[in-house]
């Protein structure tokens, strides 16, 4: 068994920020990342972030990843990075099993931080498994990381921020986005993103959804249908749109599997995106010295994941006996920033979700 001081699972905004603080405090950190690249989903985000200067506003996602990694680079002798290394099992005594290129290895740590992020939801309709139907994030990865176009003609399902941003990025890359569909009566994301699309002539069709996909070995068209105010399909409102790419952007769900496997107490909170860990105010799960931060604790923006990561980094550094200079001030700053990020109408869902998490019903382990 390999012994480590702190293990962080996931190298996205939450994991990287936690590592930055822990390394600064003097701890030894081992980070495990499933992908060949560090930075989680930040590395495919070409748009500039909103928010305050502190949360890297006006900076593009991939540049934020670089900045977060730069904070870590200075501590190379304390930092161990495992890429293409998937954590496939975790046990309550803080043991993990890691799979890398055909080899399994076991590690035990004094503290584990789970920052596994989220996965994209799928929408249910006939033929939704045809090649050419992707999560919006998958298309972003394909274009912005690998420089490959998903196809020529696309439709986006979902007008939340991800749906709007990825539609715009498809247009930037040269894909013809024929429409954005939204089942609700209103556009879900920020007006600024919707306006950018409208200026390019992309129609955003509210109260409209996919009835079915058409094609044999790849998608060739979709049939859309209008919905009434009770979300019921209206007969004879079907329209066929020929496309080779359909993007699904109907939300994310926390990657809770490792937390569930460890036996942490979980809750199902729809406002937070699904199964999330019940945690103390210090973000410690029901298992001592196993912590969680970022989207795995509830779907939010990357800005919140960064601050949460810093907060957990502080908590864990203190737990391990490190006295980081300015600890109390930093901790106070994190709490204040999270409060600011979650205020306003777009933070309403997360505030409600967190309220429910304190008393919500138990999650079945399936």
């Amino acid at each position: 068994m390999n012994q480590r001081e702190v293990i962080i699972i996931g190298s996205g905004p939450a994991g990287l920020s936690a590592a930055g603080i822990l390394l600064r405090a003097g701890a030894h950190v081992a980070m495990f990342e499933r992908s060949p690249l560090i930075g989680g989903q930040l590395i495919k985000q070409t748009h500039k972030f909103f928010g305050s200067q502190k949360q890297y506003a006006k900076t593009r996602g991939y540049d934020i990843a670089k900045k977060l990694y730069r904070d870590i680079e200075a501590y190379q002798d304390h930092f161990e990075l495992h890429l293409e290394a998937t954590v496939v099992a975790i046990y309550p005594d803080r043991v993990i099993s890691v799979y890398r290129q055909g080899v399994y290895q076991k590690y035990q740590a004094q503290a584990i931080i789970i920052a596994t992020g989220a996965s994209e939801r799928l929408l249910s309709f006939p033929n939704n498994d045809l090649p050419g139907i992707y999560g919006a994030g998958a298309v972003q990865t394909l274009m912005n990381l690998y420089g490959v176009l998903p196809g020529k003609n696309a439709v986006m399902v979902g007008s939340g921020n991800i749906g709007l941003i990825v539609s715009y990025q498809m247009m930037q890359a040269g894909v013809n986005v024929k429409a954005v569909l939204e089942a609700a009566p209103n556009i879900g994301g920020y007006k600024v993103h919707a306006s950018k699309l409208r200026r390019l002539g992309v129609p955003i069709m509210t109260q409209t959804t996919v009835k079915r996909a058409i094609g044999m070995t790849a998608i060739e068209a979709i049939e859309t249908i209008r919905l009434d105010e009770k979300w019921q399909p209206i007969e004879d409102t079907e329209t066929t749109i020929p496309i080779d790419t359909l993007c699904i952007s109907v939300g994310l769900t926390p990657m809770h599997q490792l937390l569930s496997m460890a036996g942490a107490e979980m809750r199902y909170i729809s406002e937070l995106g699904g199964c999330v860990p019940h945690m103390s105010s210090a973000h410690e799960t029901s298992i001592r010295n196993i912590f969680a931060c970022g989207d795995v604790t509830g779907i939010e923006e990357a800005s919140s994941a960064i601050v949460e990561g810093q907060f957990i980094g502080l908590i864990v550094s203190e737990r391990l006996g490190y006295a980081l200079e300015g600890y109390h001030l930093l901790k106070h700053e994190c709490t204040t920033e999270l409060g600011i990020l979650r205020c306003g109408p777009f933070g309403e869902k997360i505030r409600l979700g967190q309220q429910k998490l304190k008393g919500g019903s138990s999650c079945s382990n399936d």
Binding site: R34, S35, P36, Q41, T46, R60, E84, T86, G102, S119, E120, L122, D129, L130, P131, G132, I133, Y134, G135, G137, A138, V139, T141, L142, M143, N144, L145, Y146, G147, V148, L149, P150, G151, K152, Q172, A173, G174, M216, T217, A218, D244, M255
Partner: protein, 117 residues
């Protein structure tokens, strides 16, 4: 008339292409990587995953559903969903969307459950 068919063919070829001009990102020319897909020699680029290389070549079908043998492509591209599982260098169930493409790789479609060897 002949020219018309040539045009149609050309359109088919550029159906899945690499991005060359982009307002924010640079995609410089990269080293070519040779591999085979179902026994046929193919070319990808350095920095590709197996799935991105296949997609750029126009191969969207990466696996088949186990019971109904329906065509499946990747859905998430980040290693979550498992619909890009292929046989790579004779090893089953490789997540091709997060596996970097390497020179000489043998990539094959897999029917049914992967074989453990």
């Amino acid at each position: 008339m002949k020219a018309f068919y040539v045009m149609i063919l050309a359109l088919k070829v550029v159906n899945h292409v690499r991005i060359h001009k982009h307002p924010i990102l640079d995609f410089p020319e990269k080293k070519v990587i040779h591999f085979t897909f179902n026994g046929q020699p193919q070319i990808g680029h350095e920095g590709d995953t197996i799935a991105s290389a296949l997609h750029a070549l126009g191969f969207k079908e990466l696996s088949k559903s186990i019971h109904h043998k329906r065509a499946r492509g990747f859905y998430c591209a980040i290693g979550n969903c498992g619909s890009c599982h292929m046989r790579v260098n004779h090893v089953s169930n490789i997540k091709t969307c997060i596996t970097p493409l390497e020179e000489g790789m043998i990539v094959e479609l897999e029917e049914g459950l992967g074989r453990i060897t």
